[in-house]
């Protein structure tokens, strides 16, 4: 039992990462029908920006965090402007292929610039250490990540449910044409959506650095598949659903690996795909109500 609980606690950081990435992913998926494979790179660029500021320029941690957010938002909006906006109205498959291309392109560019070697992500002292709860170890950084995720999630859900722009976003996910005729500036709402999603990716970058202590150029690939499957699991366009689904996948994946025999540990990536196929067979609309037609 203790082993199980410890595994769950250990996985909460990874679960938060997945939740935050899935939340951003489901927003862009809902609003323009885009399965954005480049979202992982949006996170990665934020992580690289933080690394560069903290390790190369030797700036303090808080500046690194700001840099991560700024980097992610900049890249996210850039991709939207260059790759997705010119394809407004194109089919989902075309958009997906484009996002694949963008993902490859950005990753390759970054690898050319800084190589795919692990880069350290220094964290301040107050984030080190752990507390003991009976026999269970809880790292301080996990607590921080959880708290931040909770706050961000609550703010996001409030934004989407209770503000004019958030309601407009949900309306656009359902019927973008008609939303336009009500006076909703659809282009601006799309930009806001991408900015928020990229902001969340920037947060995820910081979480990653804090949890793993290092970042690398290929980090986006691992998480983007989890993010998209989580957004399908949670109901497309449903932010609360994505957050819950992200935790389910993060914790589930860790438990899956924890209970596998040693030599089969490499089967970790199979977990999300099993979830995906089971979902498609039994409940393709997801656990929660999607925001699309």
């Amino acid at each position: 039992m203790d082993y199980f609980l410890q595994q769950v606690i250990n996985s909460l950081g990874w679960g938060s990462l997945n939740a935050v990435m899935a939340a951003g992913y489901t927003m862009t998926f809902g609003i323009i029908g885009l399965v954005n494979f480049a979202h992982g790179e949006v996170m990665m660029v934020g992580a690289m920006a933080a690394f560069w500021l903290m390790v190369v320029l030797k700036l303090p941690f808080w500046m690194g965090c700001l840099g991560a957010m700024a980097g992610s938002i900049a890249v996210g909006l850039l991709i939207e402007r260059l790759a997705f906006k010119p394809l407004r109205g194109a089919g989902m498959i075309t958009l997906f292929i484009t996002s694949l291309a963008a993902s490859f392109g950005i990753r390759t560019l970054l690898i050319m610039l800084v190589t795919d070697k692990l880069k350290p992500f220094p964290i301040p002292d107050y984030l080190r250490g752990a507390i003991l709860l009976g026999d269970i170890i809880i790292f301080k950084k996990t607590i921080l990540i959880l708290v931040l995720t909770f706050l961000a999630g609550a703010a996001l859900i409030y934004f989407v449910k209770n503000t004019k722009t958030g309601t407009a976003m949900r309306a656009m996910s359902y019927d973008p044409e008609i939303a336009g005729t009500m006076g909703v500036n659809t282009e601006r709402v799309i930009i806001v959506t991408f900015a928020v999603a990229s902001f969340l990716a920037g947060m995820a970058a910081i979480f990653w650095g804090i949890k793993f202590g290092s970042v690398r150029c290929s980090m986006g690939v691992i998480i983007v598949v989890n993010a998209f499957i989580a957004s399908v699991l949670g109901g497309i366009g449903n932010v609360l659903g994505a957050i819950v689904a992200g935790f389910i996948i993060g914790v589930g994946e860790t438990l899956f690996v924890a209970y596998l025999p040693d030599q089969l540990v490499g089967l970790r990536p199979l977990f999300v795909w099993i979830v995906f196929f089971v979902l498609l067979i039994f409940k393709p609309s997801g656990l929660f109500r999607p925001n699309i037609k």
Partner: protein
């Protein structure tokens, strides 16, 4: 008369291949072989992604399965049994098979494996089907990496006999192109294309959707697997990751640039991508520019440029170079007219 014309054409082709095989320097010959293999992969992919409009990314997994199957047959016994002690059945472990049966068996295994993809196509909408095929790829690679007793895991297999040559590659490529051209005009081919354009119409016309999807995936997978086997016996190396997203993406780029639904487009796309990759390869390694200065290693430049090119094509001319038409005199004429009289 027609028969004589065909015989002359065939003889000319054989002569040309013989000439090229003897006279081309190594680099150019390899380039030609890669072009041929890519053509096979692209034309095969066009059958499902272009004609049948079932956009699939599963060809990586198919090549992997076909490649390993053939590998088990063609690898030298000393390597399989003595060095690695692979957990293969006796009849595979103890013999080394020539290329043709390995190609055929590998192709068939790939075809069966790939036909499995036809099943979810019925229930899943376009995007979900695409993602499912992506999963198919990932799952295949992950499993292959984790059964080292059979596949030697991520390290992969070496010591391949260098079977691939111009006759195999271009013989099969020309055969596949010929087959595709015939197929396109045949009843089965036209049923496939109708099914791709409008499912409801097709099923009203009596097309059994499941059966035709199986045909499409089976045929496409057969040649995709063969393409993979040819490739493995050219680069003499096989490991699961090599069939990952990078390769999958390259083939997709070929048919998008060439034009979805066009055989000639697939070949043109293959030519462009092969040329691009090989000509940019030295840039990636870095080289001395006439001794004046050294161009630094730009590993990945090709991928970057290809990604950018793909995005530009999708925005500016999504139907690709050929659209879904084939090269013919009327096409050439229409392009010339467009050039002279801009709309």
């Amino acid at each position: 008369m027609q028969k004589l014309k065909n015989i002359i054409l065939l003889a000319a082709a054989v002569g040309l291949l013989y000439f090229l095989d003897r006279c081309l320097p190594g680099f150019w010959l390899t380039l030609l072989l890669l072009f041929g293999i890519n053509s096979i992969l692209a034309v095969a992919l066009n059958i499902t992604n272009g004609w049948a409009n079932l956009f699939s990314l599963g060809h990586g997994g198919i090549m992997l399965v076909g490649g390993y199957t053939a590998a088990f047959m063609t690898l030298p016994v000393a390597f399989k049994r003595d060095l690695l002690d692979l957990a293969l059945p006796g009849f595979l472990l103890n013999i080394q098979v020539p290329f043709l049966p390995a190609l055929i068996v590998g192709g068939l295994v790939g075809a069966v494996f790939g036909s499995v993809l036809a099943l979810p196509a019925l229930r899943l909408k376009g995007l979900y089907f695409l993602l499912a095929t992506l999963g198919f790829n990932f799952i295949t690679i992950t499993i292959a990496e984790n059964i080292p007793d059979i596949t030697n895991g991520p390290m992969g297999l070496r010591q391949f006999p260098a079977h691939t040559n111009i006759w195999w590659v271009w013989g099969i490529a020309i055969f596949l192109i010929y087959l595709s051209v015939r197929l396109r005009r045949s009843t089965i081919g036209r049923a496939l294309i109708v099914m791709g354009q409008d499912e409801e119409l097709a099923s009203h016309l009596g097309v059994n959707l499941l059966r035709y999807r199986l045909y499409a995936f089976g045929l496409s997978a057969f040649f995709t697997a063969i393409g993979g086997i040819l490739w493995v016996h050219l680069i003499l190396n096989l490991y699961p990751r090599v069939f990952g997203l990078h390769l999958v993406f390259n083939v997709v780029t070929m048919i998008v640039i060439g034009g979805l639904g066009s055989i000639s487009g697939a070949v043109i796309g293959a030519a462009i991508i092969t040329g691009f990759v090989e000509i940019l390869a030295p840039l990636e390694e870095g080289f001395g520019f006439f001794g004046l200065f050294a161009v630094p290693r730009l590993l990945g430049l090709t991928t970057l440029i290809l990604a950018a090119v793909l995005i530009v094509i999708l925005v500016v001319r999504p139907e690709g170079i050929m659209g879904n038409r084939e090269i013919s005199w009327s096409w050439i004429k229409s392009q010339w007219q467009r050039f002279r009289r801009p709309q």
